[in-house]
C-alpha cells in the first residue's frame, strides 16, 4: 500500500459532515433547546438537509472506495477528515485566550462538540426559565435590587455571542423589556448587554452518555480517542477549565512534569510497573510481513550444486569455466545486497541476492505477477533498458515505457527489497482496485510497446516479435479432391483449451504435453462445420491440422481456464489439474525438434473467474534458482514450481497431483537461453545504459545513507 493518493483525499470543506450536520439536523430531533431555534429553522426544508447529509455520506464512502479503506492511515494529506479528531489535544493545548467564544472550546471532535452543544442548549434553557421567573417576579414586587443582586447581575455581563439574534426577539425571551417598569432600569441595563443567559462560570460539562449500549460516530474512527468517555471526559473537562482559567481538579493540579510513576503510585502498584519511561520498550515482535517498502535487499542462501548443475546444463562448459562463472555471479549478487544484510555461509552455499517484491496497490497482483515473469526474461530486459525516447516527445506511450524501464531497472539494479508500480500503473491509466486478466493486460501492453518501439532503433523494432512471435500453419485437406490449402498465422502466445468434459475419464491430471497433443491433433471438418473447397467449389468434408512453421525463443502458453458457462451466463474457471514438464520438446512442421525449458509460471489462486489472487513462480535464468513472488513476499523454491516434473524422471517420482492454479506458462528455448546467459547481459552489456548507471548510483547512495 502506498501513500501517494493524497490528491484524491477529501478536503476539509467537503468533509465538513459532522459539524454541519450536527447543526442542521439537530433541531429536527432535538428536545429542550430546540424550541427557541425552531422559529428560524421552520423555514428550512429538513428533508433537503437530510438529502445533503446523505450526499455527504456517499462522498465519505467514496473516499473509502477511492482513497483509503482504512480511513486515513494511507492518506498523507493534513486535512484528512478522520485525523481531525486526533488534534483534540493540540486544540486544547493551545494558549488561546480564556474565553468561551468558541462554543465547542476549540475541540475538533464532532462527537464531543455535539455533546457540548447539547449541554449548552440544556443549560441555556434552564437559565432562560430562571430569568423568565425573575422577570415575572420583579415588576410585581417593584423592589430595588440589593447590592448583591447588582453584583451578581454585573458578573453575568460577559456575553456569549453565539446565540442567534432571533432568540432575543422570541416571544418567550426572558430579556423582553416591554413589561418592565422604570424602577427596574438598573437591572434592565445589565440584561440588555447580554445575548446569552450563560457566562464563563456556567461551565459546560463534557460527558459521553454512560449507557453501555451507547455508541457514537467516532467509535468507528480509530483516530479519535476524545470520544472514548470515562476518564477522558474528566481529562477534557480539566483541560477546558485550564484554558478558561477556572479551578481544575486537584488530582491534576500539583503533579510536576518531571514526576516519575513511582512518585505517583504506592509501592504495591509501582513495583509492578515495567519500562515506564518516555522511550518504551516494545517487547513482542510483530508477526506479519513488512509492507513498508523501505527495506534494503537481503540475501537468500542457495545450494552451490543447484547453480553448478544449471550452468552445466545450459552453458555446456567445463568445470573451470563454471567456477569462473560462479565467482562472477557471486560478485554480482553481493554487489546488490546491503553489506549489513550479508551473512557468512558455508562453501557449499551461495549468497544470492533475494529478488525484489512488488507492493500491491489494491488489486494489482495480476500486474505484479506478470512483471515478475517479464523481468526474469534477460532478453526482454535488455531491450527495454536500451530504449531511449528518441522522438523527444512525451507521448503517453513513451511515458509508459520510460516508467516501465525505470521500474525494471530498480527491480534488477535497485537497493530496495520492495518496489512500487504506482508510476507505471498511473502511466497506463490502470484502475488499481480492479482486477484484470493478466494475459489480456500483457497483450495490450505488448501491442502498445511494439507500437512505440517502431519509432526507435531497428533492434527495438523487432524486439517483441523476435522474442515471442511464432508462426502457425493451418493445413486443410479436402477429403474429396485431396487438395491441400495452407494458411499461415502469427501468434504471440499459444492459447491451449483445457480438456474439460471432453477428457477421458481415466485421466485425472493432464500433462501439458497431452494438452498440446490434443491442440495439434487433426480436426475433422464435417456436418455443419464443412469446409468450402476452392477446387470442388462446394462444401466438403475436410481434415485440418495445425503445425508450427516457426517457434519463438520464448513460448508463452496460456491455459484457457476461463470459459463462458451457458448455464449461468457467467464466466467460470475450469479447475482441471495440470502437471508441468520442466522441459518440453516441440516439433516443427519440418520435423526439427526444439527443447524448451520452463522458466516462469503465473498462478491464479481461487476457484472463481471474478476474484482470486495471482502469484508468480519464476526461474532466474542465470542460476536456475526458483522463487515464488506473492506481491511483496518473495520466497525461494528449492524444488521449483508446484506440480512440475522432469520428463526424464520416473513416473513414481513425479508429483501426485497437478495444479489447478497454473494459468500462464513461459518456456524458453534451450539454445536461446544458452546464448543469452553466455552474453552475461546483466553484468556487462547492460551496465552501460544510462538508466542502469542512474539506478546503480542510487543503490550506492542508499547503502551509504543506511550506514550513516
Amino acid at each position: 500500500m502506498t501513500t501517494t493518493r493524497s490528491n484524491k483525499s477529501l478536503d476539509s470543506t467537503s468533509m465538513e459532515v459532522s459539524n454541519t450536520t450536527e447543526t442542521t439536523v439537530k433541531p429536527v430531533t432535538a428536545n429542550g433547546g430546540s424550541k427557541k431555534t425552531g422559529s428560524k429553522r421552520k423555514k428550512d426544508d429538513p428533508t433537503g438537509q437530510f438529502l445533503q447529509m446523505m450526499k455527504k455520506q456517499i462522498q465519505l464512502a467514496r473516499y473509502e472506495l477511492e482513497v483509503d479503506p482504512y480511513r486515513g492511515i494511507f492518506d498523507t494529506s493534513e486535512d484528512c477528515f478522520y485525523k481531525r479528531c486526533s488534534h483534540v489535544f493540540t486544540d486544547l493545548g493551545s494558549n488561546a485566550e480564556n474565553t468561551i467564544d468558541d462554543e465547542n472550546y476549540g475541540i475538533s471532535c464532532p462527537c464531543v462538540s455535539s455533546w457540548i452543544r447539547d449541554e449548552r442548549q440544556k443549560l441555556e434553557a434552564i437559565a432562560q426559565r430562571k430569568n423568565k421567573r425573575r422577570k415575572n417576579v420583579i415588576p410585581r414586587s417593584l423592589k430595588v435590587p440589593t447590592t448583591k443582586q447588582r453584583q451578581s447581575a454585573s458578573n453575568r455581563s460577559t456575553s456569549d455571542k453565539n446565540v442567534n439574534v432571533e432568540d432575543i426577539t422570541d416571544d418567550s425571551n426572558p430579556l423582553d423589556t416591554t413589561d418592565i417598569t422604570s424602577s427596574d432600569v438598573e437591572i434592565i441595563e445589565v440584561q440588555q448587554n447580554r445575548t446569552s443567559p450563560l457566562n464563563n462560570n456556567d461551565f459546560i460539562q463534557v460527558k459521553r452518555n454512560p449507557h453501555v449500549n451507547y455508541s457514537c460516530a467516532c467509535d468507528a474512527n480509530p483516530f479519535c480517542i476524545a470520544s472514548i468517555g470515562g476518564v477522558m471526559d474528566d481529562y477534557l473537562q480539566n483541560r477546558i477549565k485550564k484554558k478558561l482559567g477556572l479551578k481544575q481538579e486537584e488530582s491534576l493540579q500539583n503533579i510536576p512534569d518531571n514526576m516519575s510513576p513511582k512518585d505517583v503510585y504506592d509501592d504495591k502498584f509501582a513495583k509492578h510497573l515495567i519500562h515506564f519511561t518516555s522511550e518504551p520498550v516494545i517487547k513482542s515482535n510483530i508477526s506479519c510481513t513488512s509492507t513498508s517498502g523501505r527495506q534494503l535487499r537481503t540475501q537468500s542462501v542457495v545450494d552451490v550444486e543447484t547453480i553448478v548443475n544449471h550452468l552445466k546444463t545450459v552453458l555446456q562448459v567445463t568445470d573451470a569455466e563454471v567456477k569462473q562463472r560462479l565467482a562472477n555471479l557471486e560478485q554480482w549478487n553481493k554487489k546488490r545486497i546491503y553489506p549489513g544484510n550479508i551473512r557468512k555461509v558455508s562453501d557449499t552455499k551461495f549468497v544470492f541476492c533475494r529478488p525484489v517484491g512488488i507492493s500491491n496497490l489494491g488489486a494489482t497482483c495480476y500486474l505484479n505477477s506478470q512483471l515478475q515473469c517479464l523481468v526474469a526474461n534477460l532478453a526482454f530486459m535488455q531491450g527495454v533498458l536500451r530504449w531511449t525516447n528518441e522522438d523527444g516527445e512525451h507521448a503517453q506511450m513513451n511515458l509508459v515505457i520510460s516508467s516501465l524501464q525505470s521500474l525494471l531497472a530498480h527491480m534488477v539494479y535497485g537497493a530496495q527489497a520492495v518496489v512500487s508500480t504506482v508510476e507505471f500503473s498511473s502511466a497506463l491509466g490502470l484502475e488499481n482496485d480492479e482486477m484484470q486478466d493478466p494475459n489480456e493486460f500483457a497483450r495490450l501492453l505488448f501491442d502498445r510497446m511494439h507500437e512505440s518501439f517502431q519509432r526507435s532503433s531497428p533492434f527495438l523494432k523487432h524486439l517483441l516479435p523476435s522474442l515471442f512471435q511464432g508462426v502457425f500453419e493451418y493445413k486443410t485437406k479436402c477429403t474429396k479432391c485431396q487438395n491441400v490449402s495452407t494458411r499461415q498465422e502469427n501468434f504471440m502466445d499459444l492459447n491451449l483449451p483445457m480438456m474439460g468434459d471432453d477428457a477421458p475419464s481415466s485421466l485425472k491430471d493432464f500433462t501439458l504435453e497431452q494438452l498440446l497433443e490434443s491442440y495439434l491433433k487433426i480436426e475433422i471438418l464435417d456436418g455443419e462445420n464443412k469446409y468450402h473447397c476452392c477446387r470442388c467449389d462446394e462444401r466438403t468434408s475436410a481434415e485440418r491440422r495445425v503445425i508450427f512453421s516457426k517457434l519463438p525463443p520464448v513460448l508463452n502458453i496460456q491455459l484457457a481456464r476461463y470459459v463462458f458457462d451457458l448455464k449461468t451466463f457467467r464466466k467460470k474457471k475450469l479447475m482441471d489439474r495440470i502437471l508441468l514438464p520442466r522441459t518440453l520438446d516441440i516439433r516443427k512442421g519440418d520435423g526439427e525438434s526444439h527443447t524448451y525449458i520452463l522458466c516462469a509460471v503465473q498462478n491464479h489462486k481461487g476457484s472463481s473467474a471474478y476474484s482470486g489472487h495471482y502469484v508468480a513462480e519464476v526461474m532466474d535464468w542465470m542460476t536456475g534458482v526458483w522463487f515464488e513472488f506473492d506481491d511483496e513476499k518473495v520466497s525461494k523454491q528449492d524444488k521449483g514450481p508446484i506440480s512440475s516434473y522432469h520428463p526424464s524422471q520416473e513416473t513414481c517420482h513425479r508429483p501426485k497431483e497437478g495444479t489447478s492454479d497454473a494459468y500462464n506458462l513461459f518456456y524458453v528455448e534451450l539454445t536461446f537461453l544458452r546464448e543469452t546467459v553466455k552474453k552475461d547481459l546483466i553484468g556487462t552489456a547492460l551496465g552501460t545504459t544510462s538508466i542502469v548507471h542512474q539506478v546503480s548510483g542510487e543503490l550506492e547512495r542508499s547503502f551509504n545513507l543506511e550506514k550513516e
Binding site: V25, Q57, P222
Partner: protein, 273 residues
C-alpha cells in the same frame, strides 16, 4: 444458648466474614481503579508533545473499558492467567488471510502513539500483577500482548480491501440511485433529463417512494446506535438493504403501475392518477 440461637450466631458470623471479604475485594479493585485513573490522567493523556508517526492499534472495546475506570477487567486477566497467554490478544482480530485487519475490524479499534501504547500496556500489566499478588496468587511473566498491530507494518490486507470495497461499492450504488431517483421524482421541479421515452408512474407510487427515501435519508443522517445519540451516521457500510423492507405492499406497489393500469390486461388507460 438454644440451637436456633447458635445457628443464628454462626450465620451472623459467616455473613460478617463474607461482607468483610467482599469489602476487601472491593477495596482492592478500587485501589487498582484509582491507580489506573491516576496513570491515565498523568501519563497516558499527558502527552501533548508526542509526535510518533507509528501508530499502534488496540481493540476499541478493551480500550474503552480500560478508560472507563469502572471495569476492573478481571475477565481479561483471568483468561490470561488460566492460559498463561497474553493479556491482549491481537491475533483474534487478524483477518482470515493472516495479513492484517479487515477494514471493518480495523475501525473497531483505536490508534495510540508508541508512547501511549507502551504506557497503556504497562498499566494493564501492572494491574494484572497487582490483582494476582493481592489475591495471593503467583505472578507469572505472561506477555502483555501477542504481537503489535501497527499502521506501518501489518494492518493492510489487500484481499480484505477488495472484498470490503466490492461490498461497499454496491451499497454506495444503492444510496446514489436512491438520491438520484428522489431528486428526479421531485414534483416541484421540472425533469432534469429530457428523454424521448417517457414513463407513466402513479403519483401515489412517487409519494410512497419519496417517503421511503426520506426515511432512509433520516436513518443515514442520524443513526441511533445507542439509547440517544444525534451524532452523524458512522458510514454507509453500516447500511444493510436487506433489512430495509418496512413498507407494506399498500405503501409501495411492487408492480409500480397497478394504480393506473387496467386490472386484467395491465395496460395503462388513465393518466389522471
Amino acid at each position: 444458648m438454644t440451637l436456633h440461637g447458635y445457628v443464628c450466631y454462626v450465620f451472623l458470623i459467616l455473613t460478617r466474614l463474607i461482607e468483610t471479604r467482599i469489602q476487601d475485594q472491593n477495596k482492592k479493585i478500587l485501589h487498582r481503579l484509582t491507580c489506573r485513573r491516576t496513570g491515565i490522567l498523568n501519563f497516558l493523556l499527558d502527552d501533548d508533545k508526542c509526535v510518533d508517526s507509528d501508530l499502534y492499534w488496540v481493540n476499541g472495546l478493551v480500550f474503552q473499558n480500560f478508560m472507563s475506570c469502572r471495569d476492573p477487567m478481571e475477565d481479561l486477566f483471568l483468561r490470561s492467567t488460566q492460559s498463561n497467554g497474553p493479556i491482549l490478544c491481537n491475533s483474534q482480530n487478524i483477518c482470515q488471510h493472516g495479513k492484517g485487519l479487515h477494514p471493518r475490524e480495523f475501525r473497531k479499534g483505536k490508534f495510540l502513539s508508541k508512547t501511549k501504547f507502551s504506557i497503556f500496556c504497562n498499566l494493564i500489566h501492572a494491574e494484572r500483577n497487582v490483582s494476582l499478588s493481592l489475591d495471593g496468587k503467583e505472578v507469572s511473566n505472561a506477555p502483555i500482548y501477542d504481537f503489535a498491530v501497527t499502521s506501518k507494518e501489518n494492518i493492510f490486507c489487500h484481499e480484505c480491501v477488495n472484498e470490503y470495497r466490492s461490498d461497499l461499492s454496491s451499497k454506495v450504488d444503492v444510496a446514489s440511485l436512491l438520491v438520484k431517483v428522489y431528486v428526479e421524482l421531485d414534483p416541484d421541479s421540472a425533469p432534469s433529463i429530457v428523454d424521448s421515452t417517457m414513463y407513466a408512474v402513479p403519483k401515489s407510487f412517487v409519494t410512497a417512494l419519496r417517503k421511503f427515501a426520506v426515511k432512509m435519508f433520516k436513518f443515514f443522517s442520524s443513526l441511533e446506535l445507542g439509547s440517544s445519540t444525534r451524532c452523524p451516521f458512522p458510514g454507509i457500510d453500516y447500511f444493510e438493504i436487506s433489512e430495509w423492507s418496512p413498507l407494506s405492499k399498500e405503501d409501495l406497489d411492487p408492480l409500480v403501475t397497478t394504480m393506473i393500469s387496467c386490472k386484467f390486461h395491465r395496460v395503462v388507460d388513465a393518466m389522471t392518477n
